[in-house]
């Protein structure tokens, strides 16, 4: 499967044309992680957006001064990490660690992605709308975890 096909299967880019997705693909850099390797650390600057192409990552949150982090959720193919920083410019709210080998991710620089969204406002609008949908999905997912889990 080529990169355009992979990105077309990511909800963040739902509603974009093939040409617009090609622009996004030009910003991607592929990285491979092994089991237990940290992809992004809690408290670090949110400088990159990650798209999981293959494998799984574990998302965990650590209390200040706490020892072990609490695992919140595992994320698999097609999920994104780091899009919250696009909105709030904040530090990473959780640690993301690969839990399968290999875990392949596409990495996009936040700065480059923001520049593209500002230059092409249709891409910017669609991506921001999709981020809102994704946050709604995750909130509903948390409700189900609290209700059932």
């Amino acid at each position: 499967m080529d990169l355009i096909q992979i990105l077309s299967g990511v909800e963040l880019f739902e509603g974009l044309s093939a040409e617009e997705i090609t622009h996004i693909a030009s910003l991607c850099q592929q990285k491979e992680f092994q089991d237990n390797q940290v992809v992004a650390a809690q408290g670090s600057p949110g400088l990159q957006l990650f798209i999981i192409q293959e494998g799984f990552v574990e998302v965990s949150v650590q209390r200040k001064g706490g020892s072990a982090g609490k695992v919140i959720v595992n994320l698999g193919i097609g999920q994104t990490v780091g899009e919250m920083s696009l909105i709030d410019q904040g530090l990473r709210s959780a640690t993301v660690k690969a839990i399968s080998s290999p875990t392949i991710v596409q990495v996009i620089s936040q700065q480059d992605f923001e520049k593209l969204c500002e230059k092409d406002t249709h891409i910017g609008y669609v991506v921001m709308r999709n981020i809102a949908t994704d946050l709604s999905f995750r909130l509903r997912q948390r409700h189900m975890v609290d209700l059932i889990g």
Binding site: F56, I77, Q79
Partner: protein
Amino acid sequence: MAIYKVSIVVVGSNHPGAIVNLSEEPKVGTSIKLGTEEFLIEEILELMPPKGDFYFLHLTCVPIPAE
């Protein structure tokens, strides 16, 4: 091509749950593999209305009973 974005909660296990995209529609009574672990799908709910090619589902799963 339809893409099923699924939220998964595993009952009766320490598994934290997962969010993953599937290319095939999940069915109750079938199994789903999350990394090295496999679980049985007990219930499927629509979490949000579909948008474009995306369907948003919630799956309640349980560990597969040992034979």
